[in-house]
């Protein structure tokens, strides 16, 4: 690995400090977390302003109107029709005034009209048509009992998927009280739902643990950089970064051990 310059090391130290500050939230809300939280809110909001300006407005609006002149309101631009969204955008700003705020409803109405119209056929296709199509599936009757223990390709598994879908759909009926036969089917539906939820919860644990492992690795690399540099200044900063949290942690433990036992009502 290349030797790291002291300047870069300071930035890395900041990153490590903020990482630990964010982790401190797990203990309780504290000034370090508050600092990290408020900092990241401001910085990320600013980041999006810049990204949306440079990568959004500029290519999608300014560049398209840039062959026009501002004093002609860009009407002489080759793609003058892009003034329309700009005007709509400016209409959003009427919300700064209490009296004219209603004008902002126009762009909002357009926005929502376009979005809902877009959603109807697409969602119908993706969520209803396609799912219905794949539910109608030929079962492999020749392999109904499958090979070995719980075979998901076996006929019975495929049949169970089909019945499970139907039962779970029954569970979602709103216009019928869950009674009688209906109750039985809906009950089976909710069982299927719960087993599915449990399985997908359990399955996600692995990915979440690896997120934490990645953070450990970052801190490990940071420590390695500091120790391997052989530079006193590097080590000092490393000590400060970890030291703050180590000292506070010890203080909390001492407090916890010496606390007066109060009986909670």
């Amino acid at each position: 690995m290349e030797a790291m310059s002291f300047g870069t090391f300071l930035w890395v130290s900041l990153g490590a400090f903020l990482t630990l500050a964010t982790f401190s939230f797990l203990y309780k809300d504290n000034p370090f977390y508050k600092f990290a939280e408020h900092l990241v809110v401001g910085v990320s909001a600013g980041y999006f302003v810049i990204i949306l300006w440079h990568n959004g407005l500029q290519p999608n609006l300014f560049d398209r109107l840039n062959d026009g002149n501002w004093y002609l309101l860009w009407l002489n631009s080759s793609r003058w029709w892009y003034i329309v969204p700009a005007i709509l955008g400016v209409m959003m700003w009427t919300r700064f005034s209490k009296k004219r705020a209603w004008i902002s409803r126009w762009p909002i109405a357009l926005y929502i009209g376009i979005a809902t119209g877009l959603a109807i056929p697409l969602e119908m296709k993706n969520r209803v048509n396609m799912q219905l199509y794949s539910t109608m599936r030929a079962i492999d009757w020749s392999n109904f009992f499958g090979n070995g223990f719980l075979d998901s390709m076996a006929g019975y598994s495929q049949l169970l998927i089909f019945l499970g879908v139907l039962a779970a759909l029954f569970y979602f009926f709103f216009s019928k009280e869950h009674t009688g036969v209906f109750k039985g089917v809906a009950q089976f539906g909710i069982w299927i739902l719960m087993v599915g939820f449990g399985a997908s919860f359990g399955y996600t644990v692995m990915a979440r643990i690896s997120l934490f492992v990645q953070r450990i690795q970052i801190l490990e690399n940071y420590t390695k950089t500091a120790w391997d540099s052989g530079d006193g200044l590097f080590l000092l900063f490393w000590f400060i970064t970890f030291g703050i949290f180590a000292v506070l942690g010890v203080v909390q433990i001492i407090k916890h051990l010496t606390r007066k036992k109060t009986v909670t009502p």
């Binding site: 959003m92 376009i114 709103f174 997908s200």
Partner: protein, 410 residues
């Protein structure tokens, strides 16, 4: 029969073409020894070219019968090159390559005039398919086919099933809404998660603590967020009536704008316009985990009596719900993001699963007209179940025709 004749004709033509190859590409083999005595393969036959249907133009579909030497015969075919020219005399340029066994190719160009790959509509094109062997210099060209033009269509026939579904559902919805307007009583069973919303507001009033309403990470173009606005309206009205606090941190500026309008209206409806302030509904940031950090902080500092999460949620669902539980709040959630439902089910007191979120927006409003659409949803669901059963039975009796009715081609 026809194929064989064609192949026979082509084979007869081969000797005539042979000198042309020799000029065009001298058989010089420097790299390999195994391919030195490579014989030219038979050309592809039955080559057809037509405009690609159901598209915006700029696309031509080619189909052919693979060479007889492809997986059989001389067995020396390596792939095919599709070549195109604007006149039958050339020059031909390569448009794409496909491996052995392929019997078709979609020549799709760009519709952007400025782009390099621009392929204009209503222009005559001529195609030929070259059968390649592993030896670059040994190949056979098919007959040239053309002229063929590409153009755009005005109706996508591949999407007819979707059209039927959309129209059918529209009719159903309108029918029930008209029926509801006419005063018909529509029964809807109670949903625990929705009734909990009312209870939770009452609890907040008793405790004198605010309610935190999170609209999720959706934008105003997500229907889940739009449904959430209706629920927010309902919650805000109750909150205004009971004079409890309301906190709505927002992730998207347009969502913030709409939410402000919704909450303000609810306060006016409750007869307390003066209690409303724009600071109840505020913007945080458009970055997922920075937003979560801020909402987490708010939960632990304001200790809301109730947290309501309705809308689109992603990985942050569990971070929010667990922090809320730590703060001792009652939590009600609803999302249509399937991957997140398990986490809400585990960590919240009440969860509206999937479509219950949409039902809630109709249910909470308690307006008969809104309930009408809920009925339409139920009938559509029944239709889906019936169609699925019919489709399932027919396909298992080896009749796939019914299933094909529902296939959407894109």
């Amino acid at each position: 029969m026809k194929h064989k004749l064609l192949i026979g004709c082509c084979l007869l033509l081969l000797p005539l073409l042979a000198p042309a190859w020799a000029q065009e590409a001298p058989v010089a083999d420097t790299t390999t020894d195994s391919t030195a005595a490579m014989q030219a393969p038979a050309p592809v036959t039955d080559l057809t070219a037509r405009d690609k249907e159901n598209d915006h133009g700029h696309g031509i579909v080619l189909e052919w019968t693979p060479s007889v030497d492809d997986d059989g015969g001389l067995n020396n075919v390596f792939g095919y090159v599709i070549q195109r020219a604007e006149s039958p005399d050339g020059p031909f340029e390569e448009r794409g390559r496909v491996p052995i066994g392929a019997g078709g190719y979609d020549d799709i160009g760009s519709k952007e005039r400025e782009s390099d790959g621009f392929m204009p509509d209503y222009v005559d094109y001529y195609y030929l398919v070259r059968t390649l062997t592993v030896d670059e210099a040994v190949y056979t060209d098919s007959d040239i086919i053309g002229p063929v033009q590409s153009y755009g269509q005005w109706f996508n026939t591949g999407r007819i099933p979707v059209l039927f579904f959309v129209i059918g559902f529209m009719i159903l919805t309108m029918y029930f809404i008209t029926k509801a307007r006419g005063g018909a009583k529509l029964f809807v069973r109670r949903l625990a998660g929705i009734e909990a919303v009312d209870e939770a507001i009452g609890r907040a009033t008793e405790m004198g603590k605010p309610i935190l309403y999170v609209l999720g990470l959706g934008t105003a173009s997500d229907i889940a967020t739009i449904a959430s606005f209706t629920i927010l309206g309902r919650v805000a009205k109750k909150v205004a009536e009971y004079q409890t606090g309301l906190i709505v941190p927002c992730y998207d500026p347009i969502v913030m704008t709409v939410a402000q309008e919704t909450v303000r209206t609810s306060y006016m409806d409750a007869g307390r316009p003066d209690s409303y302030s724009d600071d109840m509904v505020y913007f945080v940031t458009q970055s997922q985990f920075a937003y979560v950090a801020a909402v987490n902080g708010t939960m632990l500092r304001e200790l809301p009596a109730t947290n309501i999460y309705m809308g689109k949620f992603f990985a942050e669902s569990l971070i929010l719900a667990e922090t809320g539980a730590l703060a001792g709040s009652i939590q009600i959630s609803g999302t249509d993001e399937i991957a997140q439902i398990p986490f809400f089910v585990v960590a919240c007191d009440y969860t509206l699963i999937g479509e219950e979120l949409y039902a809630a927006s109709a249910y909470l409003g308690r307006e008969p007209v809104l309930l009408g659409s809920l009925k339409a949803q139920d009938y559509a669901k029944a239709a889906v179940i019936i169609l699925a059963v019919i489709g399932f039975i027919t396909i298992n009796f080896d009749w796939g025709g019914f299933k094909q009715l529902f296939q959407v081609l894109d």
